[in-house]
């Protein structure tokens, strides 16, 4: 019967087996801190390979190649990280075929360090002294002590996208606290039962993580050489309980996945009225719900305590020099230029649609003017303020793929009424501890 199904499963098993073959002999990896000081220019002409997803990067690379005839960058477009490129990179690191440079999202930096896959570039070019060029919290995401493992590229501080026209219609202002947000959800539901204040997605556990981040929940910590898992913290439980109440009272939609056709349609037909999202989310709404042009606005994310200014982050990425690169000096030089040179950052903003991690980049003219879809509002001003308010000390775990998976599974159960978000945190905590131990790492919990 299941010829097709079998072949898919077989392919999965084979991919696994190949990956096994390439990953089992991990005894000879060197710790990257050894090479910290030994980052010297190669002298002569150098060719760098650069894997990247997203469109428009070629414009920035072309400009670099024009200006730097001795350091040529070859750009190769690949699927986004979780869609396969990370796996290719893991395999390539073992096989020695990884590119010189690749984008690594902040939440995955630790996973790459787990396989010693990133070069410590603190001794390369001006990397060691460049921290102040980037939004503060991003630097702690890519460095540990003096060691630097990547250069920040873009960020996703949170803000509230909301349907200003509908809020206005019922005399509601943008909520400034989560309590007000809840009250608005109740009022809107009473006004029209087809309204839902937002969708609670199962496929975006990293969205939920951003909300936990805002409430100072630290999912992970370290004590010396040991990991501490604190997914199930009081701060996280507070967030979970809040959203569980929203789910229980049917104030949020529980059957819409993020970035789905169905969600776009729900936005476009006035069913779902807000989205807590990052600056990159502006085009997601614009493209998904063209009929609602001019009706949306952006407000600061609601706070847990009135008057606070805490924020979290969802998405964004850094660019790293892979451990297999033979030219870390040149690669690091290119990365610093790409992510902090005003001309380069302006191209990234315009062509790839990123929101830059570079502090100066936030003042690019493309980010200081009004956006037509949002009724001419200067929406990026809100995100510029938000970026400076993101908690500084948030740490990702070494097995984030697993942690996200455990959270997504728990959320699925909560949305189906077979559990709660509070349970989700408990389960994710226990299972993550197991998964870190399974990688041979030590946990203090």
């Amino acid at each position: 019967m299941a010829k097709i199904r079998r072949s898919v499963a077989l392919a999965a098993v084979l991919t696994g087996a190949i990956a096994l073959a390439s990953c089992s002999s991990g005894t000879s990896t060197t710790t990257s801190s050894d090479s910290a000081s030994s980052c010297a220019p190669a002298g002569g002409k150098v060719d760098l390979t650069f894997w990247n997803w997203g469109t428009g990067m070629d414009k920035a690379v072309d400009l670099w190649n024009e200006k730097n005839p001795d350091i040529h960058v070859d750009l190769k477009t690949v699927p986004n990280g979780n869609a396969g490129t990370y796996q290719n990179l893991f395999n390539g690191l073992k096989a020695g075929t990884a590119p010189d440079i690749a984008p690594i999202e902040y939440d995955t930096v630790a996973s790459f360090r787990l396989v010693n896959g990133l070069k410590d570039i603190s001794g390369c070019a001006d990397v060691g002294t460049s921290a102040s060029k980037f939004v503060d919290w991003t630097w702690s995401q890519v460095s540990e002590g003096k060691n630097v493992f990547a250069v920040p590229q873009d960020i996703g501080p949170l803000g509230l996208y909301y349907r200003k026209d509908i809020f206005d219609k019922y005399g509601l202002a943008a909520p400034t606290t989560w309590q007000e947000y809840y009250d608005d959800a109740v009022k809107l539901k009473a006004a029209d039962p087809s309204y839902e204040i937002t969708h609670f997605s199962q496929t975006d556990p990293n969205w939920f993580t951003g909300l936990l981040w805002q409430n100072s929940a630290k999912l992970f910590g370290t004590q010396g050489d040991k990991w501490q898992v604190s997914i199930d913290s009081p701060q996280a439980q507070e967030v979970a309980a809040y959203w569980q109440k929203m789910i229980d009272q049917k104030l949020v939609s529980t059957d819409l996945q993020g970035f789905s056709e169905a969600l776009s349609k729900a936005w476009d037909t006035d069913k779902v009225l807000t989205w807590v999202s990052a600056p990159w989310g502006w085009s997601t709404i614009r493209d998904g719900a063209p009929d609602t042009s001019g009706k949306w606005a952006v407000a600061p994310i609601p706070q847990w305590k009135a008057g606070d200014t805490a924020n979290g982050n969802w998405g964004g990425s850094s660019t790293a020099v892979m451990a297999t690169s033979k030219h870390p000096y040149e690669a690091a030089k290119f990365l610093l230029w790409l992510n902090s040179d005003p001309e380069a950052v302006a191209i990234l903003i315009k062509e790839t649609g990123i929101y830059p991690a570079s502090k100066a980049g936030a003042d690019d003219s493309a980010l200081t003017s009004g956006v037509e879809f949002y009724g001419g509002q200067k929406i990026f001003d809100t995100f510029k303020t938000a970026a400076a308010q993101v908690n500084n000390d948030f740490t990702w775990g070494p097995t984030m793929t697993d942690t996200y998976r455990f959270m997504a599974d728990g959320i699925a159960n909560a949305l189906a009424g077979k559990g709660t978000l509070q349970d989700t945190l408990k389960d994710a905590q226990a299972k993550t501890i197991d998964s870190i131990k399974a990688q041979g790492l030590q946990v203090v919990n």
Partner: protein, 305 residues
């Protein structure tokens, strides 16, 4: 006895052993390399675990772990639940699909069936559609916010929840049945076509009507084909992957360990290769036991093989 008399047959015997082996090589070498090799490697890997020394991230070494990964798998309630889920799925879905396949095959086999070729093709066509596409298409038809079918049903007062917790397993079963009923039908139909016409003629002359002919003459005679398709279906059920994996992106009710293969895939994508290998070996083991057990059972039951 002279030496040559003894040696000659020996040499011939040796030659006659080498020759078939040599002819088999072109098959054996790739078979070993791309089939037995990875399986063997998975078994080896499933008996290992990763240990690290020094530092927050440490330097990894792979060491023997005995059956630790298997112990972990069997005490993993999510994995055990996924096995139970596909067993429940199989107990219902396989008989339903087989029944449909058999009925369609019998209908097509009757003398009076019209447009045989067209109907055969129509039933078989879904099998030609890649599983991912089929799942996406059905997903669209299930999605309450997009589906014309759901809005049609709602217009007459029905509120189906195809993607809800209670129904999602059977929504998947529907996609699987839709895809593979035609494939099974073709195998059964081929067996029917191969039945000796003299037996059927004799039965007709003895006065057997079509219905009696079908269930008392044809079905017992094609039992081996039915057993074959049933075994395929049992194996396929345990390996259920594509449909739930695709539907997972549109419904919030499918977890990453919904089926055993998905559990293994998830472990592999989280770099937990030894555990993924142990899960794969367990899935293979259960498939083997169930399909082989079914074969033994049916052999004893009606003497077919």
């Amino acid at each position: 006895m002279s030496a040559s008399v003894v040696d000659a047959p020996k040499r011939r015997r040796l030659g006659s052993r080498i020759a078939p082996a040599a002819f088999l090589l072109p098959f054996l070498i790739p078979f070993l390399l791309i089939f037995i090799g990875p399986i063997g490697y998975a078994v080896v890997q499933s008996l290992q675990k990763v240990e690290r020394v020094a530092g927050l991230f440490g330097t990894p070494t792979t060491v023997w772990a005995g059956f630790a990964q298997y112990q972990r798998a069997l005490s993993d309630s999510d994995f055990v639940a996924s096995i139970m889920r596909v067993l429940l799925f199989g107990v219902i879905q396989v008989p339903v699909m087989m029944g449909i396949a058999l009925l369609v095959a019998l209908l097509l086999d009757t003398q009076s069936a019209r447009l045989k070729r067209f109907h055969r093709l129509a039933v078989f066509a879904p099998y030609g559609i890649p599983g991912v596409v089929a799942a996406l298409m059905w997903g669209f038809l299930y999605d309450p916010r997009l589906s014309p079918i759901v809005s049609g049903l709602e217009a007459v007062g029905l509120h189906p929840d195809f993607l809800g917790t209670d129904h999602i397993l059977w929504s998947i079963a529907n996609v699987v049945t839709w895809t593979y009923a035609g494939y099974n039908m073709i195998i059964i139909y081929a067996a029917l076509q191969a039945l000796p016409s003299d037996i059927l003629e004799a039965a007709s002359i003895d006065g057997a009507r079509p219905l009696r002919l079908a269930f008392h003459i044809k079905v017992p005679l094609i039992a081996p084909a039915l057993v074959l398709t049933a075994v395929f279906s049992i194996i396929g059920t345990l390996q259920l992957f594509t449909e739930p994996e695709v539907l997972k992106t549109i419904t919030t009710t499918i977890t990453s360990t919904y089926t055993p293969t998905m559990a293994s895939y998830s472990a592999a994508s989280a770099n937990d290769y030894s555990y993924a290998a142990a899960l794969s070996v367990l899935i293979a083991g259960v498939s083997f036991v169930l399909s082989f057990g079914f074969l033994r059972f049916t052999t004893r039951w009606n003497g077919t093989s």
